[in-house]
Structures are given as C-alpha cells and as structure tokens.
Symmetry: C2
Amino acid sequence: MVPHAWYNALPELGLTLPPDIGGQSRLARAKGMQVPASLLRQEMSTRRWIPIPEPVREHYLGWRPTPLRRASAFERSIGTNSRIYYKYEGGNLSGSHKLNTALAQAYYYKKAGARCLTVGTGAGQWGTAVAAACSVFGLECRVYMVRSSAEAKPYRPALMRMLGAEVISSPSPRTEAGRRAVAEGDDQGGSLAIALAEAVEDTTEPHTHFCAGSAETYSLLHQTVIGLEAIEQLKAAGEHADVVVASLGAGSNLGGLVLPFLSDLVEGGRPRCVSVESTACPKLTRGRYAYDYVDASGSIMQKMFTLGSTFVPPDMHAGGLRYHGTAKLVSALYDQGLLEARAYGQRSVFSSAAEFARCEGVLPAPESAHAVHAAALEARRADDEGREDCVVLGLSGHGLLDLAAYDSFSSGAMLDAVADDAAIARALDRLPSRPDARRAVTVD
Amino acid sequence: MVPHAWYNALPELGLTLPPDIGGQSRLARAKGMQVPASLLRQEMSTRRWIPIPEPVREHYLGWRPTPLRRASAFERSIGTNSRIYYKYEGGNLSGSHKLNTALAQAYYYKKAGARCLTVGTGAGQWGTAVAAACSVFGLECRVYMVRSSAEAKPYRPALMRMLGAEVISSPSPRTEAGRRAVAEGDDQGGSLAIALAEAVEDTTEPHTHFCAGSAETYSLLHQTVIGLEAIEQLKAAGEHADVVVASLGAGSNLGGLVLPFLSDLVEGGRPRCVSVESTACPKLTRGRYAYDYVDASGSIMQKMFTLGSTFVPPDMHAGGLRYHGTAKLVSALYDQGLLEARAYGQRSVFSSAAEFARCEGVLPAPESAHAVHAAALEARRADDEGREDCVVLGLSGHGLLDLAAYDSFSSGAMLDAVADDAAIARALDRLPSRPDARRAVTVD
C-alpha cells in the first residue's frame, strides 16, 4: 500500500516550469548547497514515475501508509451531510509530512558522500524532520533555528537534540552572517533569512552540505506518497473525492496531496483542489505571478505567486505559512486554473481546529488547522447547494508542540492576523523588474 | 477487536482483597466523592466479564484497538535475538492510557446525574484524560493542578483548557485547603495532596463530584482493554508472550496490561509479568505490605505495598511514578508471587527510551520509558540464557509534552534519582500501627 514510486505530475499535466534565474550569490550557492545530481535529475525528469529507493521506502514503512480517517464526529458537530476525510501525516516522530522528503534527501546526500547536513529552520518542523532523517542514515546534523522561535517553542530544539542534532540559536557567533546580524542590529530574535544564511555558510568542513528545504520541486515529488495513498484508500472505502483541501506554506504539503488527484489515477473526474493560506500571508489570493527572490539573500529568482520577498507578515501562530512565495509548481497549477485558493484568519481557523480536536482526538498543527477550517466550509457549502460532497483534507502535522497557540485561542487573547494592504503594495512594488537584464544565468 | 467487556480478574485468581479502612474524614469522603454505585458494584463483582456500556465502547472505537507493534529496529539496535512488542496507548488526544478509565468514569458519573467533575492532578496526565472525557460526555471539568507542575509543563494546562476544562493552579485562593496551604508555608509550588484536597472541597455546588483517580480497582478493570487486545493481537501474529513488562505508578497501567495475561485466555502458559518502578520511589522492591493511607489527607487506609504516605521521593522526571503506594489489587498480585518487580534509575531509563524513539519513531513518556528499559534488559537476559523470548511492553503514553526531561538527558544534566535509605526507613516507621484500634469502618 506504500507506493513503490513517486508521481511526477509534470509530463501528464503538460507543464514546463519557467526556468530559475540565478543571482549574484550563485557561486556561493554552488559551493555550499551542492545539491546531489540525483535530486536535480528528478526535477528535470520526463518520467511519470520515479522509483523510491528501497532504503527510503523501508523507512517509510515505519509509519506509512498514514491513516485516511473519516471525521464522523466532526461532521456531526458541524452538522453537515457531506463526508469529511483527513489524511493524517502527524504520526511520525518529527510530527509532520516533512519527513517524507527529509528522509529521501538525507538518503541522496549520504549516497553522494555527505557526512553532515546543515539546515535553517523557523518554526522547527523542517529542522526536526532533517534531524530525524539524519539520525536514520547516520549523518550529523546542525540546525540553525531562529532564536525567538527556539525560545518560544523550547520542545522543538529538545526534540532535535534527542534525535542527535546540534541546535544553534540564530543569530549565532559561529558564522560571519550571524556575527554581522548581531553587530548590525538589535534584532537578536533572528529571522529565517539569517538562519538560512548561517546554515549555508557553515558548510566549510569536508562532506558538509546545506539541505535546502521543502519548497523544491523534488520535495513536492517526494510528498506525492500522501496523495497516492489517499487515492487508494478512498477507492477501498468506495469513495470518490469531490474536493481536496490542503494548506499552503511553500507548497510541499499541498503539492504532495493534490498532484496525484490531478492525474488519470483518479477515475470519474478530477476533484476540485483548494489551497488554503492565511490572511496574514495571502500569496495566492493577493499576490502576483512574477519572478521574485526565493529568500532574503537575493540569490535565486523563480516565477511564482508572491507577495514580494521583502514582505513581512504580521504575527501569527502558523509559522509554516509565513513564506512570502509559492513553489513554482504550485504557482503553475494556480496559474493554469487547476487550483482554487482561499485565505482565512486564524481565529476562525483555530475555532474549527479546536472543535476538530475535541471530536476526533487529533490536534491539528496551526498550519493544518487552516485546511480543517476550509474543509468544514466546503462541506457546509455543499449542504447549502444541496449536494453531499466527499471532502478530503490534508492534516499535515500534529499541534502538540504548538499548544501555546491553542492556549492563546482558548483564553480569547488571539487576534486575527491580516496582511496590511499598504505592506503588500509596498512589497509588490519592490519586486525585481526586468529580471532578464540582470547578470543572470538560467540553471534549469 | 475492541473488547465488549472488561475482564474482572478477581474470581479467576481466587483473590479477595483486604478491606479498606476509613479514617476520620470518611464523612467528608462520602459527601464529596459520592462514587456512583455502578462503579462500586464493579469493584465487588464476582462476574468474570463486566460489559462495556455501548456509549463508552463507541468512543473507544475512536482510537482503539491501539496498535501492538514489533520494535524490530530497536531489537537490531540493542542487538537481541529476542522479539520485543509494544502496546502503544499514546495515540489518543489525552496522550496516555488514562483515557480508558476516565471515559468510563465520566459516563457513570453523568448517568448518576453529575454535571461537573473536579479532579486533582500532578504531572497532568490524569487531569488531561478527565478533561477529554468530560468534553465527550458534556460535563464541566475543573482541574486543580500542582502549581510547580503547571508552570514546568505549560502545554499540559493548555491542552486541558483546549478541551474545555478550567485549570486552577494549586494551592489556590478558591478553597479552604488552598488558602491554608498558602497561609501555612512557603510551599507555593504545591503538592498532589493539596491539589486533591482542593478538588474534593470544591464540590459544594449541586451535581458536582470529585473524580477519584486512577488507582481504584475499577480503574484497573477498565484498563484491561489493553491486555485483552494485546492477547488477541499476539495470537494473530502467531506469538506467545514469554514476558510482559509494564511501569508501575499506582497500578492502572500495569494492571490493565498484566491482568488478562494471568488468565486462562492465554494458551500455552502464563508469561512472567514484570513491574517496573523508579529507584526514586521503589514501593515494591523496597516497601512493605501493610495498611497505609492512600493519600496525605489520612482519610482511607488500604493494605498495599508502600513506602509510607509521608515518604517524599527525590526529584525525578517520571511524575506518574512518584506515588508512595500501590493499588491494592497489584499489591495482592505481588504478594501472591504473580508479579516480579524491578527498579531502575532514570539515566539508564532515558538512554533506552531515546534509543527506542530514534529507532521506532515513538517517544515514550518518562513513565513508559521505564518499561522500555526493562524490556530491553529482559530481551538481553534471554539472549544470555540462550533463549529467544517474546517480550511485550506497555507503552502507556507519549512523551511529547515531557521533552524537557529528554533535554535534561541529552545535555548530560540528568542525575539518577535514588530514594534515600534513611528517608524510606523514616517513612516506614511512621506507618499507621494497629489500624483496627482506630475509629474505623470497613467500607467494602
């Protein structure tokens, strides 16, 4: 039941993604990142199926197939006649879907001769997943974690340390980037941009590589195990999905669930696919499809739906939804009309998620909570329109290490975080113009 | 596969438990506790099977049967030829086995007319379980949580509040017991004894009852779903348990797993059953089988293995193993030679548990970690003696809300907590003597 191959959606969808444009620090990237050729080949493959290496699949079997459960109690509680299923990815030790690709990446890096992976992490899910994957494949792991996040969520670094990783609060005195950040400003709380820069810099030892994260096209590929399993599980339950709903951070969770549902693997017609973002960071619903920097370092540009790399979302609990942009593959799906998009405020999101937790006994991560809320609204909309839909939602991770966020909701202190019109306009104004005029090189 | 009845071991084992002896506050108990007759009848039943009420079983189906998994990667890691299986009870929202009885108790209290349950909790597992059960059956819930514990583990009260419970840090100004504790001493950190006293006192509103906890004989009965499922699952796997291992707090986890294995439901002979406690609170291995108070209030005495109700264990991370005594049913098993006992220090325990987590992807609660360690030792002992045993361990809960304890281990700061000889001797000296001479009433 665990797939033997990942699903590469590009050939079937007939999509060719706009090429990346490398910026001034391309050299630094080439030195520090050194993505294994095996991973880059996957991005460019025209094959529909990419075999999952046996050692990776063997570890998948430790927690996969993940359950697809019907949320019957939640259905009753919200009073819908529609059926809501959730695909639960929080049952592994790292607590989220990110382990699906972290494990694959660690495998390929190890095979390419790596001994140590460095990684930058904000809320901590990605760092935890890479720490777990490195533990599995006997790699060292150094995680640069945004200091304010590490202090607000002390259990995250504790879990990474238990997995054998070294966790460094960023900005740190270890790297030039960290020292500069400390010297330059009072922002000792750090940012993901600084943490990433530190992790990239800390690769001078031999066989030490920076592990890029979860927005790459190959990450989306590895995540397709989610959707592939869900399709098979729905079939076994005699169901056909009418709507598939997932939250959008950079795109690996959404892509992993949705891409297989857009293929001919689904009999009886494609479901509607819905992306859910936060009103605090509404890149699909209020952003622009344009070339923009993938991070604050100004190194690489991709064509994507973006609010601008200088956009800073207001405070919000779903740290994983704060990314200003969108994976280029997900951006292309939205551009092609294969995806709908919604944005919701966190108070209504947590209200639905708390109700879901009480009914179903599973506490959604703040990110996944957005999909829970959207699924509830889709189910009710079907009721209003006289249908009984089958709604499938991606529950990408558990929220047990995010209980402070739930407490803020329970106590009534939570505010709805909504991106400021002027802030969006300002950041969009600063989008790089005429990218082809830059000293740029097309890399794929 | 989820049992339709709980297993009452007393008739088959031919055990009659020594009667309780009520102390001076029996009246207070009778007023405040008002345990429903349905629960008390279960304790005195001579029937082998007690049917699980349909509404309780329906909720069990939300997360039961719980998985019995083989820990193959852990076996390889510790290099044993024996087989280790773990029965995992951490998959429900409350995170431990305690929900099995909390749900049953909430059901019977509700049926007896209760509208609100009050509860005292130390580490928080019992409070979380009752909060979850009250949420299911539409009861209000007020949890008095030891202040130092609530501050050290803020996610525990957050989870209870998310479940709709009111959480009060104890000692509190709400009750006479709390005010007295504040006035009398500097111990604002509180204790389980004070929290329990506050919860008992806070039952003056109509239909408000104190929910006694997890050491009662009826709690052990409700927990037998664990062992009953495990026996069936082992059979399906073609296995026969040679050793069954569980950690001992008060006894509900241990009893729930072990009792069915002592019955004729197991073909091919009884396995050895092993209780695992902490060297910080070694009631079976270093205590006495005697009448002692069940809590610090001096209200009720039971015949049990105890270190004395005045014994205070040294600081340790497995808060659930700090209870000075032992459920009377478990005490009787040990007295009859049906149970072996081991005590281990927390450093070796966490070392095994961290290894287990890295191998199996499941993080044991500090309490359950003791059983993991003992199971590893049993497996290796079998190797040494030329056998390949089947070892079954009870993994009673997850440790995701206890990551500070793991961090203390990872950083090397953890000390082994061992009970002081003199402290044990002093507390045993203070055991009540000649209980029959007291103004006592036998209650069952």
